[in-house]
């Protein structure tokens, strides 16, 4: 394997008495997309700033493209880097074109890239209007265009889809896929990114400065051991279904829309499916793998004392009403 783009080894960062980051290890390879998740104060911003070389780690080792991001090679590294900060407000009195032109020149790139970039993020029609007149979504697109200046090989995007409408969000993700295809490494940073699962290679979940979990979606699902959710359209009662599937550890309850919702341990998945498909009274079924959101809730829940994985409210299922089988 080639040299990783980002290599963090047991990196810690303290601000006085406050430990912002505690022994966090993380690697990102070429063309990989990492979802970095966590609450405010979980250590996301600190990690980003460390990678950007804005602050130096108190302990551990951090390399970006094989160099110390805060060291003498910083300026060269920064030419290969694109960053979208959270809640950035660009110079209101300038036009979108002028804002991007300013940043392009600071990155030692000619003004020729500005118009194509603005058209790429869908701001071509508004590029000579002042930023003051832009909507929230347009400002976010301008920020994305800014991060794309100079075809960076590593992009750090903080809350990239905030303020984007569903169409723009879809455009954004197709851009992520395209960039990944070209070998660009990306870190998408967010509290929760609905629908992001299909576009990331790995997720890392931070909490209180520690790495709670990291890995591919499959690895995370395995580690979390969250049950599979199956929704049934059936005339049978949850109790009778639970009785039929006795021995598989299945929980069943009636959902508000009249469907029966089953919570199935992953190892029993195929056995349960065989039984259900053989049952003539089951008219239809939907399978739901644990979403990144529920995985995030699960791992985040392990932080809070007394709140075990079981009592974490998974969005798709309410354990309180479950009937044990």
């Amino acid at each position: 394997m080639t040299q990783p783009v980002i290599e963090m080894r047991t990196v810690g960062k303290r601000f006085g008495k406050l430990t912002a980051l505690d022994e966090v290890s993380l690697t990102l390879g070429e063309g990989e997309v990492l979802g970095l998740m966590g609450h405010n104060g979980a250590g996301k911003s600190t990690s980003m700033k460390l990678i950007l070389g804005l602050i130096r780690p108190t302990s551990g080792e951090l390399k970006v493209f094989g160099h110390d991001p805060g060291g003498s090679a910083a300026n060269d590294l920064r030419l290969r880097l694109g960053y979208l900060p959270e809640n950035v407000q660009f110079y209101e009195q300038l036009s979108g074109f002028e804002v991007l032109d300013y940043f392009a020149r600071l990155k030692r790139i000619g003004s020729g890239v500005v118009t194509p970039l603005l058209e790429r993020v869908g701001l071509g029609h508004a590029m000579h209007r002042r930023v003051k007149t832009y909507s929230k979504g347009m400002r976010q697109r301008l920020g994305l265009a800014q991060a794309l200046i100079g075809e960076p090989q590593l992009m750090l995007l903080d809350e990239p889809t905030v303020g984007l409408d569903p169409m723009a969000t879809r455009d954004f993700y197709s851009m992520v896929d395209e960039l990944r295809g070209r070998g660009v490494s990306l870190i998408l940073c967010s509290h929760v990114l609905p629908g992001v699962e299909r576009h990331i290679d790995r997720a890392a979940i931070l909490g209180q400065g520690r790495m709670l979990a990291s890995g591919s979606m499959d690895e995370l699902r395995e580690a979390a051991d969250l049950p599979l959710v199956i929704r049934l359209r059936t005339s049978r009662s949850p109790e009778s279904i639970a009785e039929t599937l006795r021995g598989h550890g299945v929980l069943a309850r009636l959902a508000g829309d009249g469907r029966v919702v089953l919570k199935v341990p992953v190892p029993a998945k195929m056995a349960v499916l065989r039984e259900l498909t053989a049952d003539p009274e089951v008219a239809d079924l939907d399978l739901e793998s644990p979403t990144l959101e529920s995985l995030y809730a699960h791992f985040d829940g392990t932080l809070r004392p007394g709140a075990g994985a079981e009592s974490v409210p998974a969005p798709a299922f309410d354990t309180q009403q479950g009937v044990s089988a």
Binding site: L54, P85, V88, F90, Q93, L94, R105, L106
Partner: protein
């Protein structure tokens, strides 16, 4: 280094665009022409007065105005970008913090410098053309010295503005502290000095007193423009003490330069060490 000039250029263009340059130029120009024309109104006549009178009254008004304009122009230079998030972004670009701060300072200094030069320069041309100037050379020399010292005074207070701007986390705080700084240097310092002088019955060593005046850029500005016209010293209040001391103009200009360099240097030092 290239990025320093890109930042400076943007700052200057912002100043042109949001009419700062125009506004300051107009204020300075009208102030100078107005004082030259109506300066003698108190003694019952209207019309261009003597150059020395004009410069002296101009400097005693400008000493209030220039520091205020400089502080208003630049107090939010860093803290403003910090609040809108662009500072964090700029820091991830391939340039040093020194380049960011020095570039912005250069831009602001150019805004104030150009306005001072054009505003007072045009006023000087108007006075030369319509007033009864006996010695054109005297007018040119006096005005040149006035403009130079006015620029340096302005830059010193831009330096203060930067020092404030890198030290606080909110724009409103920076504005408040700027006002206090203005009030201290322009008004309080002289009052306290005067109080000490009167209170001690003039027992304070004269030499010490002269050097205390050098500790305030506004006093230096006053002295520079007074010493040029020895004759006008009676109108000048506290600063005439400094005029007595007959500081060499080069020493005065040098002290003003130090007043530009020290706050700016401190601002750079704080900004470089700051955790983001």
């Amino acid at each position: 280094m290239r990025n320093l000039f890109i930042v400076a250029g943007k700052e200057f263009r912002d100043g042109l665009r949001n009419r700062w340059v125009l506004a300051i130029t107009l204020v300075f120009g009208l102030l100078a022409i107005g004082l030259a024309y109506f300066g003698a109104a108190a003694s019952g006549q209207v019309g261009f007065t003597r150059v020395s009178t004009t410069i002296v009254s101009l400097s005693s008004l400008a000493v209030f105005l220039i520091p205020l304009i400089a502080l208003m122009l630049a107090y939010d230079s860093i803290v403003g970008e910090d609040e809108q998030g662009t500072l964090l972004l700029l820091l991830t670009y391939p340039m040093s913090r020194v380049e960011i701060l020095a570039g912005k300072f250069l831009g602001h200094a150019a805004i104030l410098g150009v306005s001072t030069l054009v505003g007072f320069g045009v006023a000087g041309a108007v006075i030369a053309a319509f007033g009864s100037v006996e010695l054109l050379g005297e007018l040119v020399a006096a005005l040149a010295l006035f403009i130079l010292s006015a620029m340096l005074l302005g830059w010193a207070f831009i330096g203060f503005a930067y020092l404030i701007s890198v030290s606080v986390a909110e724009k409103s705080r920076a504005a408040g502290i700027s006002l206090v700084v203005w009030f201290f240097f322009v008004i309080v310092y002289d009052l306290v000095l005067l109080g000490v002088l009167v209170g001690t019955g003039g027992q304070v060593s004269e030499g010490l007193f002269h050097y205390l005046l050098l500790l305030n850029p506004t006093d230096i500005f006053r002295i520079v423009n007074l010493t040029f016209f020895e004759a006008a010293r009676t109108q000048a209040g506290l600063a005439s003490i400094g005029a007595d001391a007959a500081f060499h103009p080069a020493l005065l200009i040098g002290s003003l330069l130090a007043w530009v360099a020290v706050p700016l240097g401190l601002a750079l030092w704080i900004f470089r060490r700051r955790e983001i």
